[in-house]
Point group: C2
DNA sequence: TCAGCATATATCAACCCGATATATGTAATT
DNA sequence: AATTACATATATCGGGTTGATATATGCTGA
């Protein structure tokens, strides 16, 4: 999904400045499945504005830079709907955590233990943050996103907590039972 | 993780050409949590080669373009280990599926049903593909990646299958109980 | 007092994706 | 037999994106 559509999505929920849109990707609901940087948000808002998909109101502020507040137009609303009617392209997932874990055999065991502990902490913090969300007041789609996301985080946390210790123990014993051959090089 | 390190990771498992490295990101284990395009793999291999982290052997092939087979050097092995010692940066996840689902209220219900069905099919296919992997012969780290990944896919599948029907039913009734106010605009 | 953080916009080099070009063999379809 | 589609194999490039940085100011806690 291009950044222009992402901005339309954020603005659908209410007018916002570029800075506030960025925050929606960092702290809001979108933070779990989308992201965009200032370097793409500001040009996107410029283009959306020139194409009439958003309205821009310059808000003079005392002792602060001018705040440009963007608001979705009817045309912008239509553009958002058109975009989400297109069959979604596959998820893109990039995880350094998984990459490092994949090569755990190359690391000192305390380093691996730290890796897992920090991941567990991350899951716990994320779940707690999401638990604070009041589900009763948000639309159905958002509720399902929330529920599915929670499920993923919770099951990941459960799995890691359940297998962490036995995994670290197995790493202590230089693996006799895992001969590494070319036949399983790129296994799924 | 930059593409150069990703290439080192693939080559750690055995020598490969640029084309084969790309396949590792498309069909292999890495496909679930990393990706790279030809446009970044080939330049990366060139740089790795000039820096002495990989060796390149030109393989003349009959009736095919020359195949350049890259092999990790000791220096490249060290570089891989150095890279995975760095604390991993946060996951990057971009999902158009979640974005569209988030705005389900804007879509016709059959379209939402299709979205969920295709997602369910995706999870089923992925789980089946991963089930074919012989776990007994791969190192511990890879086994934990596999187990954690399976857990995520399986719990997502279970959740969607459990909530799909009631969700679609709720969409049919124009929501009286979900007043949309500014107070829950960017909720987590 | 002073570092650090929040607000607010903007730019830019480095990097990366997705599409495209090139060349050929094999398999399936018509 | 002809054609289409797919697989092998490398390479380039426009355009989009990231992450860092610059600029300017107020607030807050050590």
């Amino acid at each position: 999904m291009d950044v222009r559509t992402l901005c339309l999505g954020v603005l659908y929920q209410g007018e916002a400045s570029g800075y506030e849109i960025k925050k929606a990707f960092e702290e809001g609901a979108f933070s779990h499945f989308q992201d965009a940087s200032f370097g793409s948000i500001y040009p996107a808002l410029g283009r959306l504005s020139s194409e009439g998909l958003v309205d821009c109101t310059q808000m003079a502020q005392e002792k602060r830079p001018d705040k440009k507040v963007y608001k979705l137009t009817d045309k912008g609303n239509d553009a958002l709907i058109t975009s989400i009617l297109v069959p979604p392209s596959p998820d893109k997932y990039a995880s350094d955590f998984f990459f490092v874990l994949y090569f755990a055999e190359l690391l000192p065991i305390p380093q691996v233990a730290l890796l897992l502990d920090q991941r567990i902490t991350f899951y716990k913090n994320t779940i707690e943050r999401m638990s604070e969300c009041d589900l009763s007041t948000i639309p159905e789609g958002r509720q399902l996103c929330h529920g599915l996301g929670m499920t993923v985080y919770q099951s990941s946390l459960d799995y890691l907590e359940k297998h962490k210790d036995s995994f670290l123990n197995k790493l202590k014993i230089p693996s006799q039972n895992t001969p590494f051959t070319n036949s399983n090089r790129h296994a799924s």
